[in-house]
Subunit: 231 residues, 4 copies
């Protein structure tokens, strides 16, 4: 069942350590089959070196295990909320990549300082608020998904235009049309987080890029008038 | 004698350069056989490239060499104090990994800024005080162990909950149930030290994570109610 | 046609990821045949891993595609302005290397803090101004080239003496006698950008190097009295 | 002639890129045969990849080329002053390693913040002053050596106890009993320069290590009472 998706999720998981985004098991990728309403996700705490496609776990959107002997990632409930609330998502990634974590731990949005950022994220990357004690003690991982959805709704951001978020005190989640693109956005988020820290080191009061530059760069890569690449 | 432990200590030592934690010979791992009261430790100043299991030195808890032709690590007395005072320890590691050293040289505890830290260290990683001139001129390496024990006792910290420390002006020591886990904690300590420096670069006045988040993350990985991984 | 140049541009493009200057497809190299007025450039959005010499695109100085099936780099118009306005250029490179981007995002010239910089860039590396909304909405990539030329003219800088620039909010462009030298200058620019950030971390008010040191270092490597290397 | 020294200097030169200390040709190692008064040094501007033992140049202490077809390193005169004024030196290294360059460009001594530093450098690593315009326009490379000697004399530092220096606006020189040890000290200097920058990031007003700690660490590795390693 879901052989193609399983292969895609497996390959996307292996891309995380290859791109230097994870230490040990600190990351996970999932993918969804929208027709069947099933999600394929990394098992919890399994080393990337030892991970095989058949180790992946299949769950339904309520979190019931449908296939696989292992426990799914402890972050599964967060992935499921994102899939349910953002119907355009085909893949979701969570990592603890260090520069993204730094912004999350500082509790600040990552400002859009330039074109590298604007090429993929149409505006600042929001920092979802800390959970309250009640939210933490309750359905912690589900609530992590809920505060992500909350900030996108509150600010009226389309998750296709800003394919990632950082969670205060925790780290980044990204997404995309499929697992591979979700990982691509994790790499970009970490790289722009790093560039933004370096930018503040040059000049602590650096300004964000002008809106016209955001429009130009995001829209030359996305939407009907895009002209980047081979189309 | 102690063949299994010798292999484990040897493999754990080699893991240090592989994980980028040591330059030249600036690190050492030991492991203890609690039944026999014997410790296996890296010899002093021997290159990791050239290190073989049979080069490791066996000492008793008073520091007498029981097996091996080479001198044990110059930090052996520190390891022995930790084994004697913290009876739950199975392995001890010392490195000069750069981000951990930076916090040690600044003389500050590493604050728990987020979940990456809370997953393994249940609260800030303490910075043990500088030794006095008398303590340095006397049993220096033993006294290094004693000020580590001192700060854990004074703050009433269980070394299982906070499996590492930084020593002011010097660098980190970590420990675990066995040599491999002690090295794992060295990798984590260096990574959270790095993330904490990056966090301050984003925002010099960043806040520590709320206690409820520490409780959640540490306890979902440790103790009777843990649900991370495959149990 | 242009076989030798095509090989040189291809090899120079592959050098970018090998030197750690690009993530994914975030860079491009071109080279010019001055006699024929033709430019060979990387196609847009093609992975470096998959890039073959025959994928390169040949355009004339007005941007008309003369050879090749793929779209040329979206930055082609910038390259062409530089070739037209700076007749000594044989190769041009654009990257998003992170330390150079940090200076660009901060909107500051990279100061000449020392000899590493002065060996290749005879004075500070200028930061070309942000484009206006009108310039962005119009011929964006051409106008990017025009503001580079503008700052070199305004400050009366010879592009041979300062073989690179950073564009505010965007990133670096470098050039040279040929594509390989243009890439060499990209590596140097990134390295001096990194050293300059580290210098400010040591001392935020660090001074630029004295003029006599610039003269000495640039002129021992360049011009009729050069004595560095094998001549 | 000097076959053994030639091999040692060649191997020490290759160690520089392997340890990540040089970009392109930005470094050089020499070694001296004190009995014959001859110095073997890297040729100027030759790639490390292409460097063969027979390419090395032999010069006498006045800088006359005694063997070899290539020009010696443009920094040869600096090396020769160091050999003449510091008779205990067997090898000399110059690099542009980035963290050491940052301190040089900031014009500050590298403070001894901890034991990693004190294990090899008995006190702060001095920053030799900028040359005057007259000194730069005259025998530049010789004068670079002279200001190094000047600061060691003025502060009464034994070059065996502090086996390296940074030159303001330029970069580091290190030395040792032989070429390999001189390279070892370059690696250490870069690493402690990096740790010192990270230390200031944690706490801009960090204190230097107490003198008793310097004494302990330097003297447990050096001199008649050393007990580190296998003796």
């Amino acid at each position: 069942m879901l052989e193609e998706l399983r292969q895609a999720v497996w390959a996307a998981n292996l891309e995380l350590p290859r791109r230097g985004l994870v230490t040990y098991t600190w990351g996970n990728v999932s993918g969804i089959d929208r027709d069947r309403g099933l999600v394929v996700i990394k098992p919890s705490g399994v080393d990337y070196d030892a991970l095989k496609p058949e180790n992946l776990v299949v769950v339904d959107l309520d979190g019931n295990r449908v296939e696989g002997d292992l426990n799914p990632s402890s972050d599964t409930a967060t992935h499921l909320i994102l899939y349910k609330e953002f119907p355009t998502l085909g893949g979701v990634v969570h990592t603890h990549s260090p520069n993204a974590v730094a912004w999350a731990q500082a509790g600040e949005d990552i400002p859009c300082y330039g074109t590298t950022h604007a090429d993929y994220f149409y505006g600042s990357i929001p920092c979802a608020r800390c959970l309250s004690k009640t939210e933490i003690d309750g359905d912690y991982e589900g609530n992590t998904g809920r505060v992500i959805v909350e900030i996108f709704r509150k600010r009226n951001i389309n998750p296709v235009h800003v394919p990632g978020v950082i969670c205060a005190g925790h780290g980044p989640f990204t997404w995309g049309n499929n697992p591979a693109q979700a990982v691509y956005h994790s790499v970009v988020l970490e790289e722009v987080a790093r560039m933004a820290i370096l930018t503040r080191q040059v000049c602590p009061s650096a300004h964000v890029a002008p809106q016209a530059m955001l429009d130009k760069h995001f829209l030359r890569k996305h939407g009907p008038n895009a002209y980047y690449g081979q189309r």
